[in-house]
Amino acid sequence: MAQEYKLVLKHADEAGYTPDIECYLRHGGYHDLKKVLAMRSKDLPDGKKLSPQEQIREDVKISGLRGRGGAGFSCGLKWSFVDRKSGKPIYLICNADESEPGTFKDRQIIHKDPHQLVEGMIISCFANDVKLAYIYIRGEMPEGAKILNNALKEARAKNFLGKNILGSGFDCEIHVHRGAGAYICGEETGLIESLEGKRPYPRIKPPYFPAVLGLWMCPTIVNNVETLCNVKHIVAMGGAEFAKLGTPNNTGTRIVSLSGHVKRPGYYEIEVGKATLRDLLFGENFGKGLRDGRQLKAIIPGGSSSKVLKAGEKFKLKKKDAEGKEILVETDMLDLPYDFDSLAAAGTMSGSSAIIVMDDSVDIVEALANLSEFYAHESCGQCTPCREGSLWMSKTLHRLTHGHGRASDADYLGKIADNIPGGRTICAFGEACSWPVQSFLAKFKDDFVAKGKADEERRAKEKSQCASPAHGTTIAAISQH
């Protein structure tokens, strides 16, 4: 049976574990920072030397760590893109703008174990010659910002931050920067614009790849909270050991946020790919199943932007047979291993590893209307297809859920959704707002058509009733309405 595997959240929920530095130090805190600061250059067989920084970066590459924010991009590769020859300062930003609906994992780290993040950040700064870094935390987490500020203050007092850290000659400073309620700030170039004090309009890539032209047009690394915490563990255990956790190409652990209609919603850290959706939803040590008497209707597997999975859906997954030959195996959606690649193979994504469970009490049209309202509210408004499209979709779904629907609304919605993504917008928000609509329609179209049809029929009936003279007053009332 699948089990939790606690690496990042090892101590967070232990009785008596507090977010202050003394507690962190008692649990071996900042040991890994001391370790990297004491590292020496390594001689390679070909006579070249590998600096401590290069060694850490190499180790992160070997670890196979993939970004925990949503895109699942290789962290080592991201770091390797950084322009180190420009002569400009390099910046690091911790993306703590956790706002993908369904996600609540970074909150746990920030609130319960902030020094783990700080240590992960200082090590990452050291590895990338960064002297100034920021934690961009969403505005709706004022408590988290206070905890982080306090942690940074404590770290400064112990000279883990500041000038000449522990006598190593390495200078590093970290500041907390608060957002103010805009989801788009989670997009890395939007975040950079926001940090620069502007409207968070994402930048076009190319040329504005953060690794080259990021914060103040300097090379910049933007990593998620959980990703940066993992860097600390990679240093502690070595990249090769870290890569043994999880499954090939899906290494390490992930904190899964489970919400919606399960008996025990919450956050669960697992080895990536070592638990299936079924384990997470129904396992005794995870979600404990659906509410009594209910059936599963759908799962949103990786934050609200990921494509929905319908109960009973089957996928063909590539697997190796006993002789190592690649074969296609039919897999029920619940038997998908929870990792980056399996969910991608099922046409969706593990995104920010946030699962929203919906049972058969849910009106699927209402659920999509809820999400579309979110995207319409959060579109930054820079690109027309996204600004207009997200609003049209939301308005159409609003009428479908408020008795004014049409049978043709399903096709209409699909048409709008198909015309937003695919290179028509500057950032991936275009995709993010379309994918839910496209996937809900692809899998539950009948629900949408039926709702529109029922509305049309009801209206026609009301109209014919109103047409009889005896109902003159009703006509007046309706025309006024």
């Binding site: 987490m141 919606g260 919906m358």
Partner: protein
């Protein structure tokens, strides 16, 4: 409250500005500091911030008008944010919001933040507050509440003096 900068606020703002190599970057943090003191961001506050950061007022104004958390008018003494997005909606957020509005004499179907006539409460339906596992969730000022029942709402309202 008219906009008057105390030496304390000025010192806080100077400290914030020192965190960035470019002054403009401090604008969001400075506006947070101002809103914390005054409850909202008035036109004199925008102009003062612009001058402080060596910007045009429009550069600050465009920030104030973009971010949902920054307020352009005075708010109630207690600002209530009820999460609206899917996981909380599945957990009864709409009923919770309705209950708040009914209790405080506000219109649950009206868009945007609403303040009670006595200026005591501002209620707003907001997007995901990132605590979906304990839905429905809400905030009163900076304080966070999870798994909020209607009885809890009554209790919270009674505590707001």
């Amino acid at each position: 409250m008219s906009f008057q900068v105390t030496s304390e606020l000025e010192a806080e703002v100077n400290e914030l500005i020192s965190h960035y190599p470019v002054k403009r970057a401090a604008s969001l943090m400075v506006l947070h500091a101002i809103q914390e003191k005054f409850g909202w961001i008035s036109q004199p506050a925008v102009e003062w911030t612009a001058q402080k950061l060596e910007l045009q007022p429009i550069n600050v104004y465009e920030i104030v008008t973009f971010y949902p958390m920054l307020r352009q008018e005075p708010q109630g003494k207690y600002c209530i944010k009820v999460c609206r997005t899917l996981s909380c909606a599945l957990g009864g957020a709409y009923e919770l919001h309705q209950h708040f509005c009914d209790k405080l004499g506000l219109d649950a179907h009206k868009h945007g933040p609403q303040t009670t006539k006595d200026g005591k409460f501002t209620v707003e339906f907001v997007e995901c507050l990132a605590s979906c596992g304990t839905a429905p969730v809400m905030m009163v000022g900076e304080k966070f509440y999870e798994g909020v029942t209607h009885a809890k709402v009554d209790e919270i309202c009674a505590q707001c003096k």
